[in-house]
């Protein structure tokens, strides 16, 4: 635990226990989404699926990066992760991104993906609101993740034909242009 760092956050008026609980639920959502996106990516096949695969892969790897970036902050603030992974997965901030009834239907796959990203945007917006001007480190981390979740939503939304995303592809899979600076083991992004 980073004792003074936690104390400063407490002094600023943030309920640190509540914040830690939100960060653990967010970390759980990233970890479980990484798993479920692996299934979704594996089933992105055929003419439509092949085009979709690349953005699912980016989102999948970046969600893993989000977990990697979040967990040190949980421990710094005096929190921890549950000992049992079943307890951990049950507390995810967002619903599981299950493989749809017809996994060969790209539209159904996209529906799951875009809803997962929309939930993530709500989660990190809430954490940003809670920490803005108070817990600078958590705010910057949550904002970095939020930036990537917003891009993910835009990619999937664009693929659904809801409108242009205005975003270009990543340079390398799972590049995490915003979150990479928080990673304990950098992913090669400069």
């Amino acid at each position: 635990m980073a004792k003074v760092a936690r104390e400063m956050v407490e002094k600023s008026g943030v309920n640190v226990d509540e914040l830690v609980a939100k960060l653990v639920r967010a970390a759980s959502a990233e970890f479980t989404t990484y798993y479920y996106y692996t299934l979704l990516r594996a089933h992105a096949i055929g003419f439509e699926g092949e085009g979709l695969k690349e953005i699912i892969e980016d989102a999948r790897l970046e969600d893993r990066n989000h977990f990697e970036a979040l967990f040190p902050r949980i421990y710094e603030l005096g929190g921890d992760l549950p000992r049992d992974i079943r307890d951990f997965s049950d507390m995810a901030a967002c619903a599981d991104a299950y493989l749809p009834d017809n996994p060969n239907d790209a539209r159904q796959l996209l529906g799951v993906l875009v809803e997962a990203e929309r939930c993530a945007i709500r989660v990190y917006t809430e954490i940003c609101d809670m920490t803005f001007g108070k817990d600078h480190r958590t705010y910057e981390l949550a904002l970095a993740i939020l930036n990537e979740e917003i891009e993910h939503e835009a990619w999937f939304s664009e693929f659904l034909g809801e409108g242009p995303s205005g975003h270009f592809r990543r340079g390398t899979p799972g590049e995490s242009p915003y979150t990479s600076r928080f990673l304990v083991v950098p992913n090669g992004h400069n």
Binding site: R25, M91, A92, A93, C94, A95, D96, A97, Y98, L99, P100, D101, G111, V112, E115, A116, C119, R122, V123, E126
Partner: protein, 125 residues
């Protein structure tokens, strides 16, 4: 059915919920964005956690714990129901269960919630 006065219309904030205790039951009062007030169960059916900190936007209530969403007019689960596979519906019952709703009437700016008489049952969507 007996109607119990629980709040005044001015008490219900826009975009937030107003928790009340009625007959020992935790309920929340919400607006739907068109000045209609609704009374719903105060615990999310997903993990039975309090909805006191929930936000409401355009008639959709969002649980502050796991971001499940409900239609405040009907209590219907909107998310994750819209993306959950039908095949898993039986196993995922708690994840898609609706929020209980209760009848509401307004008398002279006073909000009254209809509760079942002893032995009765609350209204379900």
């Amino acid at each position: 059915m007996q109607y119990l006065a629980v709040a005044y219309t001015r008490d219900i904030p826009a975009g937030r919920v107003y928790p009340v205790l009625v007959g020992g039951r935790e309920l929340i009062l919400v607006r739907d964005g068109q000045d209609n007030v609704y009374a719903l169960d105060g615990l999310c059916p997903h993990r039975h956690l309090p909805l006191a900190g929930a936000e409401v936007w355009k008639g959709v209530l969002e649980c502050p714990w796991h971001h499940f969403q409900y239609d405040v007019r009907t209590g219907e689960n909107l998310y994750p129901r819209r993306v959950y596979p039908a095949q898993l519906a039986a196993r995922l019952g708690d994840h898609v269960r609706p929020l209980r709703i209760y009848p509401v009437r307004t008398v002279d700016e006073q909000i009254q919630v209809g509760m079942p008489e002893a032995g009765g049952t609350p209204r379900f969507p």
